[in-house]
């Protein structure tokens, strides 16, 4: 048996009333022969036969209101009548004289309204609402990878420079066997501005006297490299963070040239333009923290270097001078060294030469 | 037995023959020596500018250039016949017409020199710029004509195209529309026999191009493109009809391309030299000169004065062009939209920085 169902008349019309049957049970009909007229909310529609065949029985009566896709009649045989969603029968031909409802489309059929939306929508960015902004920020920070190990909630992620400092110094602290030797130099040079340059020159002199501190040490390979050149890493504090630009070949430069290069490097740091290659290759490091404040310190050595000189804030003192006292300007010095690679004696000799040079008038 | 060839015979109108003789039917308005001198002088000027442009290209100062050598009569006639409030829609070989429309020589050099600023005409503000995609300008012309019609303005559009353009869709589509909407539009085909290397005989089976007007149901006619007076006569008549609401006209001006397609082309690869030699005897300036001589209007002194004047004008224009400010990288961004989107502004800023320009 094959059932012919009421086709979808289009325009989302859901039901129709049988107006008139043009065939009866037992009739032999031809394909496209008029079967029945039905009335929808819009118009009377004539339904043609989808195939040739014998009608077994009509399944709706005149006056019945049936839903779209409800059974209309039964054909004899097992012919497969292609119907169903997406398998609509071909539209009634014009020459059958049927009046098709205006579908408002020359092609296909438009689904009629089955939803009414009352929704509005937000135009553009909507994180400007406080609540939403807070939510987003919370959700973002909660998304951090070390979520489970967080020691506290909130706070800000470290920028790259701080992150590097934290990682590098943690490693240095872990590996280096640090000893700090302190002393003071009685400085007589007048020009305070050339202090850093004098310190660099003093390091050169000290390195010449005791090369063991101007070296690189590899604890893994258990080897060290003594340098003849002196490349001084100069710690510079800036609004962007701590940077250590390297003044190359300090042993070949006169004091004036050293001063100029120091100034240039500081300038580059403050302009945030320091390149990676300008931060590499230091054989010794100088931290003139005294420019800000502080006297003695325990500066950290950063491998592969083996020494770092910290210079504190110069201060005026008195010292015995014969029977009386004399004024003296003292520059506190903290020389840290890696005792895995440098002996106490080597460090002391280095410091001595350093102090001697600093105590020169010019 | 049912199918026959369609035979369309369209004569080529000529008023001034190659020997400089005027036909009897030449209207009185065109028997005026002032007009002959005007046309002669302008064709010569256009030709001299064309030569200057050619040299500039060969010396690397401007880019690929399309010469109009030998075809100046068509453009000159168009420029003389059009009114100020008509709109001109050229393809890319109408320097002579553009000059008469008020486009400056410096603007012409600026355009071919590679700067879109050359299309920002100071003179004819509504004329369309040169158009490279073949025949597409004809649809634009139909649109302009539609605007005239909708607003009921007594203005006309004149569009030009080459013989190759008549093979393209836009040609048929625009003419068809012009016909069915009765548009105030005149299309002048510069039939110079060549579409780059493709001769007319390979372009179409039509014996004439003007007959394509029949497909659009509009009048079409042929005119001698080397005869500035005849072209002027038919263009003027077509424009008057258009402005009076009598609809469009298709004019086929028959001439010969005495130059390469552009400076990037080499015609000797595909054209026979005898054809060119023959065509040179028919070129527009010769017959005008003969006319002027025959009528006692030409003197060496006048000729020399003309040359001096032309050289001065072209020189001044070249100087003016060279003094024009160079294109700015920001120009690539600033004229895409009336208002720049944020996205584009970001790109513009980054782009200018990358190119070492201050973000102006």
């Amino acid at each position: 048996m094959s059932i012919f169902h009421l086709p979808d008349p289009g325009e989302g019309l859901a039901e129709a009333r049988i107006v008139e049957w043009h065939v009866a049970a037992g009739d032999e009909v031809q394909s496209e022969q008029l079967l029945v007229s039905v009335e929808t909310a819009k118009a009377v529609v004539d339904i043609p036969s989808p195939q040739s065949g014998r009608i077994v029985v009509l399944l709706a009566a005149v006056g019945d209101i049936i839903a779209t896709h409800a059974p209309l009649l039964e054909f004899a045989g097992d012919a497969d009548i292609r119907q169903g969603p997406g398998k609509k029968p071909v539209a009634a031909a014009e020459n059958h004289g049927s009046r098709r409802p205006d579908n408002g489309s020359v092609v296909g059929s438009l689904r009629q309204a089955d939803t009414v939306q009352h929704a509005g929508f937000i135009i553009g960015r909507h994180r400007h609402t406080e609540a939403r902004l807070q939510q987003t920020t919370q959700r973002r920070s909660a998304r951090s990878r070390t979520d489970d190990n967080a020691l506290f909630t909130g706070g800000e992620a470290l920028d790259m420079t701080r992150r590097a400092m934290a990682e590098n110094l943690a490693r240095a602290h872990r590996d280096v066997v640090l000893v700090t030797l302190n002393s003071e130099a009685a400085i007589v040079f007048e020009d305070r501005r050339t202090l850093t340059a004098r310190l660099v020159r003093a390091l050169v002199a000290a390195a010449r006297a005791e090369p063991a501190l101007n070296a690189w040490y590899d604890s893994g390979q258990q080897k060290r490299l003594l340098h003849t050149t002196v490349h001084v890493g100069i710690a510079v504090d800036s609004p962007h963070g701590l940077f250590v630009p390297v003044l190359k070949n300090a042993e070949a430069l006169a004091l004036g040239a050293i001063a100029r290069q120091v100034a240039e490097l500081k300038h580059t740091v403050h302009e945030h333009r320091l390149g990676a290659d300008q931060q590499k290759g230091a054989t010794l490091t100088l931290s003139n923290f005294g420019a800000l404040a502080g006297r003695f310190a325990t500066p950290l050595v950063t491998p592969p270097q083996v020494a770092i000189l910290g210079a504190g804030h110069a201060w005026d003192s008195l010292r015995p001078d014969g029977d009386g006292v004399a004024r003296v300007r003292l520059l506190p010095l903290s020389l840290s060294f890696d005792h895995r690679a440098v002996t106490g004696g080597e460090a002391a000799r280095f410091l001595d030469a350093l102090v001697t040079d600093l105590q020169q008038p010019d | 037995m049912f199918i026959h060839d369609i035979v369309i015979d369209l004569p080529v109108l000529c008023l001034l023959d190659p020997e400089g003789q005027l036909a009897e039917q030449t209207p009185g308005t065109l028997r005026d020596p002032a007009i002959w001198w005007r046309a002669y002088s302008h064709i010569l000027l256009a030709r001299r500018l064309d030569q200057r442009a050619f040299h500039l290209q060969r010396s690397g100062q401007i880019g690929t250039y399309a010469s109009c050598f030998g075809q100046e009569a068509i453009s000159t006639a168009i420029g003389l016949a059009m009114q100020a409030d008509d709109v001109f829609v050229p393809y890319y070989r109408d320097q002579a017409a553009q000059l008469l429309r008020g486009v400056t020589m410096a603007e012409i050099l600026h355009f071919w020199g590679g700067d879109e600023g050359g299309s920002n005409f100071s003179g004819p503000r509504q004329d369309l710029p040169n158009c490279v995609p073949i025949a597409t300008q004809l649809s634009h012309a139909a649109g302009v004509a539609t605007a005239f019609r909708l607003r009921q303005q007594h203005r006309a559009v004149l569009a030009t195209c080459g013989d190759g353009a008549t093979s393209r869709g836009d040609f048929y589509e625009a003419l068809n529309l012009a016909g069915v909407w009765h548009l105030p539009m005149v299309v002048v085909i510069n039939n110079n026999q060549w579409a780059i290397s493709v001769p007319l005989s390979s372009q179409t089976a039509c014996k004439t191009l003007a007959q394509k007007a029949a497909a659009a149901g509009i009048p079409g006619l042929r005119v001698d493109g080397n005869d500035v007076l005849a072209v002027h006569a038919v263009v003027t008549e077509a424009l008057v009809r258009a402005r009076a609401g009598k609809g469009p006209t298709l004019i086929e001006a028959v001439t010969y391309r005495l130059c390469d397609h552009t400076t990037a082309d080499d015609m000797s690869r595909y054209a026979r030299p005898e054809q060119r030699e023959q065509a040179e005897t028919l070129e527009p300036l010769k017959r005008l000169r003969l006319l002027l001589e025959n009528e006692g209007q030409w003197t060496q002194a006048r000729e020399d004065e003309l040359e001096k004047e032309h050289r001065a004008v072209i020189e001044a224009a070249t100087v003016e062009w060279r003094a024009m400010p160079a294109a700015h990288p920001a120009d690539m961004f600033d004229f895409l939209h009336a208002e720049m989107s944020e996205d584009l502004l970001e790109q513009r800023t980054a782009f200018l920085q990358k190119n070492g320009e201050p973000p102006c």
Binding site: K88, G108, Q117, R125, H126 | Q126, D170, E173, V180
Partner: protein, 328 residues
């Protein structure tokens, strides 16, 4: 009033034409017949044959003359009957409409609007169900908008007509009549270059345009039943694109699913995906996902239902990004 997309289009056109005499509607069958989708119903009666032009059958010419008209200061609103027939007009759109302002350095401009039904889902004949809008989103100088509802149809079309540059308005055939919204004929245009958020959510961002927005909303409803809160963003303005709203949403939810009916490769979803990856990599809890039609020609209507992404495809994609475990 409660109206459908096609009625909203008609309303917006009438409003624009009443406001400005320079607005001219043109296209095939738009006049006497009111348009094959009845989108221009009543305009011919109201405004007459000088304002609504029934053109001959030539899409390239329709856009070509619109360019010419626009240079004369008219504001043509051209209808291309179906996106599948826009291809011959691409030359006029790309070579001329998009460039007229640029290549005359502002002397001439092209305030042209092109309205075009796109996408499938109405059992149409071949070539009537195209969504190759990515061809247009690539073109500098063009603006491309996609309607998703009666409200956005009204507001975006008004914006397009008032815009001084060429704007293409894509109208999804599938929802022309199938949903109604309250739309007030107040003449207020929506901004071009802004996304619209139809539903806020916290867990996953669903990004789409056209009829697919409705599918995303349906999917969001279903996801809510499983306690997955989806935010639904209607791109609306494909070009110029509002990445700020999209990035804000991705920052909020951390999960991004892009849905479009167009086929995958070269589809505009790729552009959005690239920009999200460039700017919001750190915000993503899971790799972003695209839900699209496969890389095939739109099938004729027997197979057509299988072609566009379905609501369950969208839900599956949302499940997938929710379930993603970062191996790190």
């Amino acid at each position: 009033m409660l109206i459908s997309v096609v009625e909203a289009v008609d309303l917006a056109l009438a409003r624009a034409m009443a406001e400005d005499d320079n607005v001219i509607v043109l296209g095939e069958d738009v006049g006497v017949s009111g348009g094959v989708f009845r989108a221009t119903l009543g305009l011919h009666e109201r405004f007459g044959p000088r304002r609504i032009l029934d053109t001959p059958l030539a899409e390239n010419m329709i856009i070509g003359i619109s360019v010419g008209m626009a240079t004369q200061g008219l504001r043509p609103v051209a209808e291309i009957q179906f996106f599948g027939f826009i291809y011959s007009a691409l030359e006029q759109l790309i070579s001329h409409a998009s460039r007229m302002r640029n290549r005359t350095r502002g002397r001439l401009s092209c305030p042209l609007t092109v309205r075009v039904p796109f996408g499938g889902g109405i059992h149409a004949p071949e070539h009537h169900s195209e969504s190759t809008e990515a061809l247009l989103t690539h073109i500098p100088g063009l603006k491309v908008l996609a309607v998703s509802s009666p409200q956005t149809a009204y507001g975006l079309l008004l914006a397009a007509i008032r815009d001084p540059d060429p704007v293409i308005v894509l109208e999804p055939e599938r929802i022309y009549r199938s949903l109604k919204q309250e739309v007030e004929d107040n003449g207020i245009a929506l901004p071009i270059g802004r996304c619209f958020t139809w539903r806020t959510g916290d867990d996953v961002t669903l990004i789409s345009w056209g009829a697919a927005v409705q599918d995303c909303l349906t999917a969001a409803e279903k996801l809510a039943e499983e306690n997955i809160s989806a935010e639904v963003i209607d791109v609306a303005s494909l070009r110029p694109l509002d990445m700020a709203t999209i990035l804000d949403s991705v920052a909020h939810t951390g999960r991004c699913v892009i849905v479009h009916e167009a086929c995958r490769t070269g589809g505009f979803g790729g552009e959005i995906a690239a920009r999200v990856a460039e700017a919001a990599h750190a915000d993503l809890k899971a790799p972003l996902k695209r839900v699209t039609a496969p890389d095939v020609i739109v099938p004729y209507f027997q197979l057509e239902p299988l072609y566009p992404p379905s609501v369950s495809d969208i839900i599956a994609a949302a499940h997938s990004v929710m379930a993603y475990e970062n191996p790190a």
